[in-house]
Symmetry: C2
Subunit: 614 residues, 2 copies
């Protein structure tokens, strides 16, 4: 039995069950065997064939036509679709003309000897077939039927297997300890998005944490050395598309590690757990500073599957006599940036170009100009008359413009101009792809580390105050530590984001392990009450090892790997974007007597109280 | 690197970290190697030795005494206990007289070349040593220090490894799919112990479910075939000793399976994941009906590590002329039961016997008599005069009474008499063990299946009404199905409990898969509103496969395996028995403005409002 333990072995799907084989398992090699199958009635044809389905596939059953099996025939001819059957029979070759090479069991069929209806089904609200169109609402309401689709079966099984491989890598290969941390805890400072759980003590509430951040640091202080957890996290953001009130992260923390240690660990983790049937990934992943990412892609999560990078052409335009541009360049951080949309002249219609400019205008209040390289080698644009021949060639060279390319150009403050063009870069890609070009290969997986973020950012509402760019436990970059006390806005952090195909799928940092430094950050930089984190400050003073970690967003990662349109497609029972469970109808009305033990009352909004009175 | 994947390989604890070895790793074979160690200062002796500790053990460091290393010496001589160090040095043999065979690294020591204080520690509230006595409150308040103890490290690591082996067995060997189910759901009918989570919709609440019961059944209906999850569950029971508001169960469900299929699966699971260093377990586990367990042990979770079974001596006493006993025997279910406490005369003092009888009286309102077999072979007891010689020998034979044994005897209704004696059996065992006898070997693991429970029980407050003995989804025993409609109290269920050394560590059942039967149970037997479970009833009608499952209480199981006094010792951050987190002080006060988005207000109890006014 030890051979079974080897990791390449196929699981036994039939152990302990009332069948000999699954419906996806039988091949020519099984011909002649007597088998027992259990499954759902997929369809029945002409009282001759019945196709039985389970999670692994489809098997064609031959309905016996002889008198001795009339009872079996009557069962199989009258059983409603999607009813559950158990049949026994003999595996036979299909007649050559009936072989079906498109399904793995297409060479065989099973001549039924006995049949039993285990459960009869009523007519379903939709058919369980590959390409049945059904509304999202219907799918959610009857999620248990939606789960029967081969796509959902694939998604959930791939997720389970990939997480299992991650566990093998972390636990069996690298000595990580899987530790469960509490989900009933107390409110984090600034944790405005945390769900509350009333306790039986009047006025006291637990909070459902957004991540096990504090606990994993406390585990390091507790000497656990290497922690991981597939952690359920909670975030109450109200309604947001493609966000879930509960989600899952692969949560990792290590002692005596630096940034590069965590990065190599994660690269190994992803390579080890990567599904065999997907394009392989190569490690180490490339790395880019936050400043570089912003400058070249206008975002901190660049999609590096395609080019169209942002080019700074400020120097070139310093000598160009356009008042608008000169005004911009005179300002601090004033720049001129451009991207080159390849074959834009052929692929983008005028209305597309207008819509790109309109986006820039309406979302960013930014003018965008465009230029085209004509077949004669000259730039066509209202502005081209301001550029002399040399300036034109310089621009063409800088952006490597080819005939029929379209250049989008923005003059403005560095960060804003980059953001705008980063946005138009993605929009242009979508427009180009609509014409059949493949820029963002859906089967390619481009990982990227983004590093050297600022440690603090000015608060959006009160720019004079600072907030953590990520969280207050992030350590400053070793080269910038002294700046912490003089110019905190200039301090880079030891935070790292992991980006896949333009989506952030993980983030982490080396943490502050010095109690004084942590107190300074909380008290002096962030102006927060350190009392709320007194247990952590106390712990840091009791021999905290240097430590760091990361969290990977599992739902998003699996979603990208299977190419699903929404994370709802990789979660068994997701909530709607409003946070509803449409199947069981949660959240639900609760009566005052059930609230009593928790010492709470519903505070009805004025409108509803008025409505009730009428 | 593929060799690393084999399951017997030792994890690499030093990968990605700033050390070459752990503090528990070095042996004679390493002598001569230059190593880097990171760890905590356990103690320092005479400015000559320093012992460094990490999760894996202790290593003795030799403090250099030569001038060239004066800086290193001054660091190592002044560093506070429990500070975090990184040192480099050379592994050497200890002088023969200093070898310490009691620790794995006792043959070697490390001559330090460089030392760096990674973090200095303040004086801790207690020492991190094996036998440091500390109060439970102190341990909980400084849990991160308590976790540094070798016992807590062992408990959490064993838990992690055992769960990993369970996952290998379920996922890799038997094709189970690890599916995460929601914890924000709606209230279950009768789910009075469910925590509530206010939503942003006025008056509407999520519930934190006590188990994924509904979801796992819906997954079977969704064709997932084999589901497992290490599931976080929630139960608000107020204060209960050794219960936790959140706990973990190994949650399993399978389609096309019967009771014996689940039992064999679980036996295999436990055998496969059983820690190597513990006494091995043998499978299959013995099985006992609920009726047998009650009759022989007076409980549904018998500790089968020792005898002292309850014997029915009713027939023998029918002819004994004691009015009290005759009165009992004339009643329905009237019985006389006895247990024989071996060597009770030598091990139990009179006050012990009185206290046993007092327990029976105060907790059960039951008289208990006692008899002793004297060295002359006659029974000593006030009642013995009512027994003739033949009756005495019959009793001695029936209970296999030896000289100096004490017999405890109870006359009463069957179930009550059994419960009382079952209780006294355990209390007597504790008393005998206090004298040095070993009845319940703490290193032995006796598993037992208890089966054939009643499906329904009369409600305690309203005995005319019925409630589910376990839950309303449990299927009736196949032989008793017809009784469901005529005499529901006589129906046995397809529920099974798994008992280990007298503790229930799991329970499950084959479920009802027929929608009509489920509706009948809910509506007609339990008189519950089926509307609350309409989604499940609808799902059962849509081709639900026959299915069943089980849940193992992970915290309790690990607790029994490591022999911990409380489940708090196998949970990283447990709550106190009042549900408090003493480290972070949860639950915590929440202000009205933070409650506003959830449309709730605190309903202060009258007493507190009054107190505030004064």
């Amino acid at each position: 039995s030890f051979a079974l333990h080897s990791e390449k072995s196929v699981p036994d799907f039939n152990s302990f069950a009332a069948r000999t084989n699954t419906c996806g398992e039988l091949r020519s090699a099984h011909v002649g065997q007597d088998v027992t199958l259990c499954g759902w009635v997929q369809y029945q044809r002409q009282n001759l064939f019945l196709v039985l389905r389970d999670f692994q596939g489809l098997t064609q059953l031959i309905i016996p036509q002889d008198e001795a099996h009339s009872h079996v025939k009557s069962i199989l001819c009258s059983v409603p679709m999607e009813s559950v059957l158990r049949v026994t029979g003999t595996v036979c070759f299909r007649p050559p003309e009936q072989k079906n090479p498109r399904i793995p069991t297409g060479d065989i069929e099973v001549k039924v000897k006995t049949a039993e209806i285990l459960n009869s089904s009523k007519k379903l609200p939709f058919e369980i077939k590959e390409f049945t169109k059904k509304s999202e609402t219907l799918r959610m309401q009857y999620r248990y039927l939606d789960l029967r689709s081969s796509q959902m079966q694939y998604n959930l099984r791939l997720r389970s297997q990939m997480v299992m491989r991650m566990r093998e890598y972390l636990c069996n290969l690298h000595g990580f300890v899987d530790v469960e941390t509490p989900t009933l805890f107390k409110r984090t400072p600034g944790g405005a998005k945390e769900f509350l759980v009333p306790s039986r003590e009047p006025g006291k509430f637990y909070s459902l944490p957004q991540s096990p951040q504090q606990f994993k640091q406390l585990l390091m202080i507790g000497g656990l050395d290497r922690y991981f957890q597939v952690a359920r996290c909670y975030r109450d953001e109200g309604s947001k598309p493609d966000r879930q009130p509960e989600f899952t992260q692969i949560d990792i923390e290590m002692s005596f590690v630096d940034k590069s240690g965590i990065q190599r660990l994660i690269e190994g983790l992803l390579q080890y757990s990567w599904p065999e049937e997907k394009s392989p990934i190569t490690i180490p992943f490339p790395s880019m500073s936050y400043a570089e990412a912003l400058a070249a892609y206008g975002t901190d999560k660049p999609d590096t599957r395609f080019g169209m990078k942002i080019i700074d052409v400020s120097d070139l335009f310093r000598s160009v006599d356009i008042g608008l541009i000169q005004n911009v360049l005179r300002k601090p951080q004033g720049t001129v940036k451009a991207i080159c949309v390849p074959q834009g002249m052929r692929c983008l219609q005028n209305k597309n170009l207008e819509s790109l400019k309109e986006t820039a205008k309406s979302r960013f209040n930014q003018e965008v100009l465009h230029l085209v390289l004509g077949p004669d080698g000259s730039l066509k644009s209202p502005m081209s008359k301001f550029l002399n021949r040399e300036q034109q060639s310089e621009l063409i060279r800088a952006l490597n413009i080819q005939v029929d390319d379209v250049v989008l150009l923005a003059a403005g403050e560095h960060k804003k101009a980059c953001s705008v063009l980063g946005n138009l870069r993605l929009e242009s890609a979508t427009l180009l792809e609509a014409t059949g070009l493949v820029l963002r290969d859906p089967t390619a997986f481009h990982f990227l580390w983004v590093v050297d973020f600022p440690l603090f950012l000015p608060k959006e509402e009160k720019p004079a105050e600072l907030e953590s760019a990520h969280h207050p436990f992030t350590a400053p970059h070793p080269s910038d530590t002294s700046l912490l006390y003089s110019e905190p806005t200039k301090v880079r952090s030891q935070h790292y984001d992991l980006v896949l195909n333009g989506s952030e799928i993980g983030g982490g940092s080396i943490r502050i392990h010095n109690a004084q430094q942590q107190r300074f950050v909380l008290e002096k930089v962030l102006k927060e009450d350190p009392e709320l984190l007194s247990h952590l400050l106390e712990a840091l003073a009791c021999g905290a090892p240097p430590h760091g970690g990361i969290a990977l967003g599992l739902d998003r990662l699996i979603c990208l790997i299977v190419g699903a349109p929404s994370i709802r497609d990789v979660i068994a029972f997701p909530k709607s974007f409003k946070g509803y469970d449409l199947m069981g109808s949660a959240p639900d009305q609760i009566g005052p007597e059930e609230l009593e033990p928790y010492h709470i009352r519903v505070a009805w909004p004025v409108a509803e109280v008025a409505a009730k009175k009428n």
